[in-house]
Symmetry: C2
């Protein structure tokens, strides 16, 4: 047990000492509603994917939204509820008929095949809990920091679900991928026809999944129903939703999604293509932007993740990155999944800054913002993984700042 915490928290318990050995201190028992086909959320729980700037003020009109963000500030544990998984679509959300949907596998293969959804569901399956992250996650802080942003605004384009489906490798065996096939084109069934060229490395052939299940149930339309590609550790855009086609070849197709879009404009004006892996990252989710804290014991908690594998270590600074302490990592620590960290902290009431820094099992360390910008410049839009700093003023107000 965390002894610091037991000492710290003993003085902050709001409800306090019980009056006597009676039930005078707790509200009376309540009768309840009938059971039902689905357990709805409590009427007291206010949670949703449309970001809010400041209490109750939405900063995006849903009809204008090009993405919707996971409310990391209101979630606990590591799983993201399916209906709160972040969403980024280029042509809205189609609700495809699974009885009619097909997946074509063709190109440099010995036996081109078409699969129905039932064909795929009859095959051996795997389940894997992994994060998905939009490559644009964090872009709000590339050039400046709006102090009114919440962690949902700054980091809400990452979520973790248990995905279930057929290992890519299994269907590669069925169609007989030719040895010269080193690239795969994955295309979605939405009107935008998002299509990406994916290099067939050993890692990708071993880990990619043609998923039909999400957190135990069928995929939801916003997340690719009836089939999506899951590419553990790689940018969200590669995890093609509404998957209709996998074509095999010996070079990338240079689709507009990897030439005009999703390339990285570097400081020297050159564009970097196929920067596919998501780097080691972390963020403190509480206390975080627009929250207010009180002096005394506060628990710091957040999430860390890396496209390279498991999180090895998360360090937290409560003095603006001058000194660091190692946070506790919650079990289980899964490769390419979000890991929850936490640390006890007694705040002395003085203005300060808090920040987290993750290290993954391959030794990659999340960069500070100054080093990150020095390397990447400010033209880029994607793969922002600099450390996130929250400032705390004398009144306990937590705000988004650059460092």
């Amino acid at each position: 047990m965390l002894t610091t915490a037991s000492i710290g928290i003993a003085g902050t318990i709001a409800a306090g000492r019980a009056s006597a050995d009676t039930l005078a201190d707790v509200p009376p028992r309540e009768p309840g509603a009938d059971l039902s086909a689905f357990s709805a959320r409590s009427k007291y729980v206010r949670i949703g994917r449309i970001p809010e700037a400041g209490p109750g003020r939405r900063n995006v009109d849903p009809s204008d939204a090009i993405n919707s963000k996971t409310p990391l500030d209101k979630l606990v544990g590591t799983i993201t509820p399916s209906d709160l998984h972040y969403e980024r679509s280029h042509s809205g959300v189609p609700d495809l008929d699974p009885a009619k949907h097909r997946l074509l596998m063709h190109g440099m293969v010995q036996k081109p095949l078409v699969f129905s959804v039932d064909d795929l569901k009859a095959m051996p399956s795997v389940s894997r809990t992994v994060f998905l992250e939009c490559t644009g996650n964090g872009w709000e802080n590339w050039k400046k920091a709006d102090e009114n942003l919440t962690v949902q605004n700054t980091h809400g384009l990452v979520s973790t679900n248990e995905w279930t489906g057929v290992p890519l490798k299994f269907v590669l065996d069925l169609v007989g991928k030719e040895k010269e096939s080193t690239w795969m084109l994955a295309e979605g069934g939405d009107a935008a026809g998002v299509a990406r060229s994916i290099p067939l490395t050993d890692e990708i052939m071993e880990e990619a999944i043609l998923a039909y299940g999400q957190n135990g149930e069928p995929l939801r339309p916003a997340h690719g129903f009836p089939i999506r590609l899951i590419m553990p550790g790689f940018e969200g855009n590669l995890n093609i939703k509404w998957l209709r086609r996998l074509k095999f070849g010996d070079q990338p197709w240079m689709t507009r999604w990897e030439t005009a879009r999703y390339t990285q404009l570097l400081a020297d004006g050159k564009a970097k293509q196929f920067q596919l892996r998501m780097e080691t990252n972390s963020v403190i989710t509480s206390p975080s932007g627009t929250m207010e804290i009180r002096p005394g014991y506060n628990r710091i908690t957040g999430l860390a993740w890396s496209g390279h594998g498991k999180i090895a270590k998360v360090q937290v600074s409560t003095d603006g990155a001058k000194t660091w302490a190692e946070a506790q990592l919650n079990y289980p620590i899964l490769a390419k999944a979000q890991t929850r960290f936490q640390m006890d902290w007694v705040w002395d009431g003085q203005p300060t800054k808090i920040v987290s820094r993750s290290t993954d099992e391959k030794g990659n360390v999340q960069p500070d913002r100054v080093s990150f910008i020095a390397q990447m410049g400010t033209n880029a839009l994607f793969h922002y993984n600099a450390q996130q700093t929250w400032s705390i003023d004398a009144a306990g107000r937590v705000r988004n700042v650059l460092a």
Copy 2:
């Protein structure tokens, strides 16, 4: 990869060989709906917790229901979506105001305390993925087998969620549990006031959680919002919902929930009390009751779980328990959580019976029905963990049978 499966499935792919290197075989792309605050389920997905007997025929009126069951036949992976977690309540579902709710800890402790929900949320947390199972799960098959039951009917009172909250041990330190306190009374805030005496073994003090989170979000009212007790491996009834009180003492309280209810009537007419741990169990979820299969390749899959720890092995028989083969266990295998198993099978079209048998890491083997009934008799109602047999007739119809 499962070579048997690749060979078996190659002949059963419904959609079949692609016509040419074109998109003639897949439906056109579709425009989509706007993004939204929540991702709804597909209109094509029919899923719910009210059991159905036969296609479309509900066998329980929701207003008469005393429990609602997880549709294990329609789920994949291991996580149960929060709104489909099984439900068993004795006085309906209250939606308690978390701002007013309190937890009293008193009795044989040095410092009786009352906690608000915010107090608990400020404490160090743990997350753990575990199964919960109603002790009555499986009772339908004690005396006879209705052949029209689905696996949702026979085994739908077990689910697996990621639960997040405060370790019991942490609050025990805060109130200063006295050494003589060997029992804990946990009481719920629903009108029925379900209350159970729990022995404070090392295992329970180490593993029990005061949970406020479920699959990443706040508990849902049907599952105990704002606080419930999580007792990994022990009968569902001990996982007290709407938790309002923990009282400590040196003997059990003998509440009506452990005297008149939730005792086990044995073959000799004696009643067994405090049979708290859920035993090793498993069930094939596909193919399962009321499904229909075709000759040729079929994937057998199901779930196994044990209150003793991890699942070590699941064996499957496709010839009515004459011979057994070891099924593949899907990663990760977590202690006291459901583990997914699967096995390739080529059905020759002859009538047969399929059955699964789990073994846990402590060496406990799920009993066959004859041995189980010989030991327990047919007076009992709880802790049914006999092997589940599904019969398959010449037409491929899958039916619930005793063995």
